[in-house]
Symmetry: C2
Subunit: 465 residues, 2 copies
């Protein structure tokens, strides 16, 4: 790999006048009347291409003048400061080796013009070649690296919780079945029901909707853990915020209460936003210019401000008394809708808000009951410009309270025996949250649809590639 | 979170005589006749517990003397150098807050005695509380962090390739079907076949067996990418090396040939082994003592030696002439068995070996054909003590050669249209490999079975939790 990444050259990591080789793809070609061609060559390592100045003294100059967007080349020459605006260095080419041409440039799906975002989605295998999806890819990578780094620095262990699960804990509905049964000849028991004892796992199995319950088992031994893996919902929601397959980050912390975990969420978001602002300035400038004017300024404001904190009960009062008319009426006991959350973050607090202590009847069985008997120690983090970005809770660590809650909700204790074991044997207060990774990337980049921030989105009716 | 991780205290990161609190679980308790109790408290942050010395002057001393393995506590006191052997610091406790007892200590599944590894597997939700699985968890985390760091430092982008795929490229067989169809009432077309157009994705969908082909699309734009995610095989293999769900690392590098990628594999393995040797010495000492005597020495030897390189054709000659009788006979054209690979690595070369250029008839369609017309640019990395750990290849980047190969193998070009597009539009030589992450963890720890190095193993007949 005897060549340099373009990012290295553009940031001045290589001495001027060095002989260098770059390998990549043509973004544009421009020929001057003086017999010089200017090639913009990119290799994905950073937002900008590097300019190669190709004199007509080269043996294959005629070939060079047939290069079009997407052709692959190896360019060797001298690295020199560039006189052009907006570029630091360029290459005076001695050699341009043509590696791969583009068949029928006129019909090349990624020809150098603006494409609609829907068109790009239909060419998901080629869209990383565009400025936009290239930038998304680098920012997504930056965020994921920062997430791993954040937790690793704080002594958290990454746990890969299972993707396939036959656990009954997850609550069916909206789950994908995983099976190797022969669909044309399903085995049946003597009542005529499908006989899952003959399926691969000997019982019904599904794709996980969350690693939380599994994560709690490791939290109850290792103290600080997190998951970062794919999760699945077979929801029929055709929205810009939903995918059938998406990545989740779920930390779980022993001896932590709701406030601790709210602080962890704030620290994590600020850490990863700072990473993007520092490491991916080039891509963020593109997003600010072309996708969302405030892409940079809102991240800068986010990392500077303390999160606001408000109780659900107080938030309801704020919303009832604010004078604004909402589509969904506000009353104690209802779940907050996106319009409510955004009002709180964008208008009332003008900052990210942690909303805490929700009515227990709208929340999951595992959330810790507060002393008032009406609410649970749940929280949502709501940010200006996006709405809910994180949901978490303190978990119910008291076996008797958990059991009463399971019964109240008509859930079978037997199905939760391993989860209950954690409360029987050295139980500890613990808390955690879940972050939808694609929503985070969409927020940071300003991309309006989560389908454009994951390489190959899976949605109702679509799982190609 | 006003307490210290035990790892911090034991490594001397906190000043002697500081007042500190630790929170964790009892490993053992010992009472002296002099009215002092010694609690070994662990919190998962490192291999060793910290000793808390509890005088009988504490108000709840009687309660303290009822603590058993697995009980959760908060201990506050003065951090002092320890006089005991093998421990650096201990805590002179002023306060022991009992957080959670163990119900019926006599029947606590993780009571402080040796358990068989099979027994632990059946208690996967509690086994991270043991020395062994705790150590596996920390080493696994260390390896995964090191992998991300290795690629990030080298300018690779992490790509999350899809888990669910309706692509026809992967070759069915041994794949898990993903579906939301009502199994009791499957929709049928007019020929009586299951009508997958009514399924969630509008066609048949499966769990991925590899991210490689998808990864190649991003490599053809971003140059250097890697995947690190779960993959699936519905194999009925009840062995110590197979899981139905396992994590794979798959780098893909543009403008790289087989030798480049062999070098990358060598660099990566050495990098991550060095990370374990440096960062998880405590856990590795446990593995060397209790699991595999050479656990540390073989890693040290691995990182010091250059990998041997041998052509498949030469390897066959070595095996035929070595005088050893193998169970599977050796002849040019056969795939190498584990016994052959291990002979080469352990006896002949006494080093990790890269075996290159295999007969094309035993390899996949996408591997690049060599000029001899008989072999492809494939490689396996084979290590002493484990056998094959990495498999990779240079990919066929020439459209005409790829098409001829597809035809030869009876595969339909139409099914590979997006894969072929990468060769139509600015094709570049590129190469990559796959590393089974659980096999790596099993090798490093010396654990004999991959089921014990992933939190909740999925195998034929088993997907509980």
């Amino acid at each position: 790999m005897s060549h340099f990444a373009i990012a290295q050259l553009l940031k001045g990591a290589v001495a001027v006048d060095s002989q260098v080789t770059v390998k990549g793809w043509i973004r544009t070609r421009r020929d001057s009347k003086a017999g010089i061609s200017f090639l913009a060559v990119h290799d994905g390592s950073c937002f900008d291409p590097i300019q190669a100045v190709v004199p007509n003294s080269l043996n294959n100059y005629n070939e060079v003048t047939t290069l079009t967007a997407g052709c692959s080349v190896e360019v060797t020459g001298k690295l020199v400061p560039s006189e052009g605006q907006g570029q630091s260095f360029e290459i005076q080419a001695d050699e341009v080796k043509i590696v791969g041409m583009v068949e029928n440039p006129d019909t090349y799906p990624m020809a150098a013009k603006r494409h609609s975002i829907e068109y790009l989605r239909e060419h998901a295998h080629l869209r990383p070649r565009t400025n936009m999806i290239g930038a998304v890819t680098r920012v997504r990578n930056c965020l994921s690296q920062a997430i791993h780094r954040f937790y690793h620095e704080r002594g958290f262990f990454w746990i890969s919780t299972p993707i396939i699960t036959a656990s009954d804990c997850e609550g069916a509905g909206e789950m994908f079945r995983v099976s190797t049964l022969d669909m044309q000849n399903l085995p049946r028991d003597d009542k005529g029901n499908v006989d899952y004892s003959e399926d691969f796992f000997g019982k019904e199995a599904f794709l996980t909707v969350s690693g939380q319950l599994n994560g709690e088992t490791y939290c109850s031994a290792m103290s600080n853990i997190y998951t970062f893996g794919p999760t699945f919902r077979a929801e029929n929601s055709n929205t810009s915020r939903h995918l059938a397959e998406f990545w989740m980050v779920e930390p779980e912390v022993a001896f932590a209460d709701l406030n601790d975990i709210a602080k962890l969420a704030e620290d994590m978001l600020k850490y990863v936003f700072n990473a993007v602002l520092t490491e991916r300035r080039d891509d963020m400038e593109f997003f600010a210019q072309r996708i969302e004017k405030t892409a940079i300024s809102r991240l800068e404001s986010f990392v500077e401000k303390d999160f606001a904190q408000v109780d659900y009960t107080d938030a309801i009062e704020i919303l009832k008394n604010c004078g604004k008319k909402f589509e969904f009426p506000v009353e104690w006991g209802v779940d907050l809708q996106s319009e409510h959350e955004r009002y709180l973050a964008e208008v009332h607090f003008e900052a990210p808000v942690v909303i805490k202590n929700y009515p227990k009847d709208i929340k999951a069985f595992y959330m810790r009951q507060n002393e008032d008997g009406k609410t649970v120690a749940a929280m949502d983090v709501v940010a200006p410009g996006i709405g809910e970005i994180i949901g978490g809770s303190q978990r119910e660590e008291r076996l008797d309270v958990l059991d009463a809650r399971l019964e109240e909700m008509g859930l079978d204790k037997e199905d939760y025996s391993w989860y209950r074991d954690l409360r029987k044997y050295g139980t500890v207060p613990h808390s955690g949250f879940g972050l939808g990774f694609e929503r985070l990337v969409a927020y940071v980049t300003g991309m309006g649809n989560v389908r454009d921030v994951i390489a190959f989105p899976r949605t109702k009716g679509s799982a190609t590639y």
